[in-house]
Amino acid sequence: MIKKRKIPPAEIPTASMADIAFLLLLFFLVATVIDVDTGIGLTLPEYVEEIEEVQVSKERMAAILINENGDVLVDGAPTSVFKIKDNLKPRILSKIELPNNKKLIVSVKTDRRTNYNIYIQALDQVKEAYFEVRDEYANAQHGNRFNDLRIEQQDEIKEKVPIIISIAEPEAVQK
């Protein structure tokens, strides 16, 4: 009698299957972008029925006016939107050591027909000026960028360089 040769059972190797799945999982984990909200933050003033006028000394104020054509006035002098930052930076820097009630106030005022994009560009310039001053001050004080500092150090710098942006009260429209 001839002995039949046993045929080994046919199998697909499954040991590496898990690795393939993990690789895929990793790929999607790395490649996924959960969309984060980014934008320019601002705190609006509280709503009041009657506006009381507060006198602020002229050198404390940086008044930015933007008209409907996108022309910009900073303290009465015509300039370009992209120069607002350079204009404000030295003024913020010079007021670092002053007490809080003497720091710079940036006021942004627009016409009703001003384009929103230009307003955002102007606000962006103001924010950028402040951020750069904060970074420079942080570098001088602690030798590091603002974002890399500890929370207490950040608070200290926020105290020294507060961002004060005033959005001008809208005036009644003449119809």
Partner: protein
Amino acid sequence: MRFEKKRAGTKTEIPTASMPDIVFMLLLFFMVTTTLREVDVLVDYKLPEAKAIEKIENKRLVSYIWVGKDKRMQVNDSLVKLEEIQSIMYAKRQELPNIIVSLRIDKGSDMGLVTDIQQELRKAFCLRVNYSATIKI
């Protein structure tokens, strides 16, 4: 006389070792294709670009107002009128006292409209706003 059925010598099982992997793949597929709590945006808008932008750390606090190219406004899932914003946002603020309002306004809008919305928000005591913008490279 005995009949015997002829059988194949090999086993006829389906390999089940890879079953969990298939399940994982399916799980992955659905994880990837799912978008979390998508709001149907009914207005057409294009955000402005800016450089000095911040991330909103706490997404739970954020509530959106969309303003489209055609000046239509949307809050939550529906289009609203300017006068309605105050009451809607006030109700939202009562639920979440430190609410952040993210303004997703089309970059071609007029400031008049933006100012009007801001005035409504101020009346509703929603004072923390964020002008949504994409990063400029």
